[in-house]
Symmetry: C2
Subunit: 429 residues, 2 copies
Amino acid sequence: MNKTINIAVVGLGQIGNYLLNELNTKKKDIEIKTGKKINVVAISAKNINKKRKYKINKKIFFKNPLNILKSKKVDILFESIGVSDGISKRIVETAIKKRIHVITPNKALISKHGDYLSNLAEKYKVNLEFEASVAGGIPILRTIKEGLATNKIFKVYGILNGTCNYILSEMEKSNTQFSDVLKQAQNLGYAEPGNPKLDLNGYDAFAKIRILSALSFNNKISKDKCLMEGIENISLKDVDVANKLNFRIKLLGISEIINGKLFERVHPCLVNKQSYIGNVNGVMNAVITEGNPVGESVLQGEGAGPGPTSSALMSDLLSILRGNIKFPFGIPNIKRKKIKIFNYDNYINSLYLRFEVKDKPGVLAQITNILAKKNISVERLIQIPDVKNKTASIIIITHKSIEIDAQNCVKIISKNKNIIKYPTLIRLL
Amino acid sequence: MNKTINIAVVGLGQIGNYLLNELNTKKKDIEIKTGKKINVVAISAKNINKKRKYKINKKIFFKNPLNILKSKKVDILFESIGVSDGISKRIVETAIKKRIHVITPNKALISKHGDYLSNLAEKYKVNLEFEASVAGGIPILRTIKEGLATNKIFKVYGILNGTCNYILSEMEKSNTQFSDVLKQAQNLGYAEPGNPKLDLNGYDAFAKIRILSALSFNNKISKDKCLMEGIENISLKDVDVANKLNFRIKLLGISEIINGKLFERVHPCLVNKQSYIGNVNGVMNAVITEGNPVGESVLQGEGAGPGPTSSALMSDLLSILRGNIKFPFGIPNIKRKKIKIFNYDNYINSLYLRFEVKDKPGVLAQITNILAKKNISVERLIQIPDVKNKTASIIIITHKSIEIDAQNCVKIISKNKNIIKYPTLIRLL
């Protein structure tokens, strides 16, 4: 590698723009730490004139990022456009084939095309780094690839979506309905103003959990259908009842190996209020790994926002400048396995069930009978009457039950004429 | 570097012995991840016949570790003897001069001779790695050097001694006196059976905080006298009162930059029970960094024991095998500064004070008068009478006060004839 390194930044949204400023202000620091001078030679975005926090150098601006690779000598390219296909994929592909190192925070791209792109990077002997794609400022990928390198990891899980965690925390803290807190989150810039769906339905956390499992278990990124539920149906009543039962509701991404099979999932969980994960509130992210011999490791930090994301992008940059040529997923692609998928119908777990019923004699017996028939035994039961509306909420915490039995049960009970709305099912951690 | 790497392990106590087993069982995994075959060619310890958990190969045993370097070709040496000078220093020095990479969990050695040894390593172009010296299984040094590489860190603190944290947690949990919990900790192997002094008096945590500051602030390891207090004088009464006031007592190591000066300290702290650090209990360690732009990052994990320590030693090994030649403290030694030391007399903080007094009229007034004269204002005051003994405990939480004023105050009050024993002073976080 030369002493002067040419850099291109493609995509100048919040993150790209912040990064650009970091690159400019930390040149000297980077030279001290790595012996390399960096030089931003090209930038690209959709709109040259968009209002940005930090001024851009219009002399090095390209409307079409692909033209950068045709006309400039670039050593390292930052891709921060952020789509899973299209121009994001095209520019990364083209750069790698021209033996340009690539750094990206694009989880959608990596969780979809990570295997293909890492193969390509290995073939062309360049780095493909994506620390910023999972949990922003928390250096979790580097920790798994390097800090915990020889451990056998069997479970990795955590709070991977700051928007959802903020909404759930705020619902509890200020006793406010989901829809109102969502509006508030949008005003504060924590949730997308237009379409926050990919945060709320669990998709964003899922992309991250797939990247985390690939690193933890050395498997190819899984493509199969999995258990994915968001927080859209969590009501204030659930938050409130959970609270009284000494639980909090958190949207968790979880990946583990069960009997040699891979079980990846994202769904709301009831977690103990005294537990570590139960105390990670607000926009914070946290990732917990369980491995041998290291035991349980926890990493917590800000999961999003241009500052933490830039911190991760810069750590990737320094790693490349220090000359660490590495396999994107820690080991050669040929050694990465395909792990069979665990059938989540067989998942055994305790559940929180909430039934909204007409307050009539015999309703409770009808519910508990169906549960008993399906071998679902009750650990705790709470009935909260709503005298005015002549209805009641029946909340049940079950003993460990088989997922498919519980799902069937809920389906059957939902058809009972005394049930007012489709029951709520939340898994315990 | 050749494809086959010769390794020597010097010191076969709990950690060295566990490491040896890891090296043997993970050979294949290491080859997959790094392309290098490792080969343990020499081991050394005081006693060849000592009973060890894992069998050792006596054919490669050396009584005197220095003879290894005379007769064997070694690429990487593990030093796990663990003293700050003597043979530990000598073997590390000699190895580096022979261009052998060194990996060590020896915090006493690094906190005392780290500057000299890292200079030497830089000169001879080898790695000196010591991830395992701070917080065992938590990859905190790598995270600061790499994951947070371009952040400006201004504070690093945490629970760095598992023994102390276990004792304090257990005192609260089982309502047991310090001395009894200590015995229990010794029986469980959490505290040295012979002389646990270096854990209890804060020395162990101090060595770690000095290494952490050197990495966080790019300074030479400080040698100056600092604020260091252990947990030997924490009584069950303090634990209990703290609990009622919604606090927990934790032994913290803290390093921060105040007005451009370095303030390193280790002492018990009253921390909020709802805070993150207030919920790290038992033998767990946790390190929190505050930096820009990343914000607050938390790492938590098992801080000691052969498993977590080996995990860190192995991560250092993989880093070397992957060919990452790095400055031991992240930047060239010549760029590491000497930072002036903050005079802790000027430290401004809230305090918890406990006075044991004779239960006579006017005593409280005497105490509060002296406090008022020294400008120490009271935020909360609790008096707990002990009717049987005609004594009382007066507990005061102060507003922010200057350290030296508070110390003087306590000295003056301690001479009052109504004071039964020297007052207790614990700082709030």
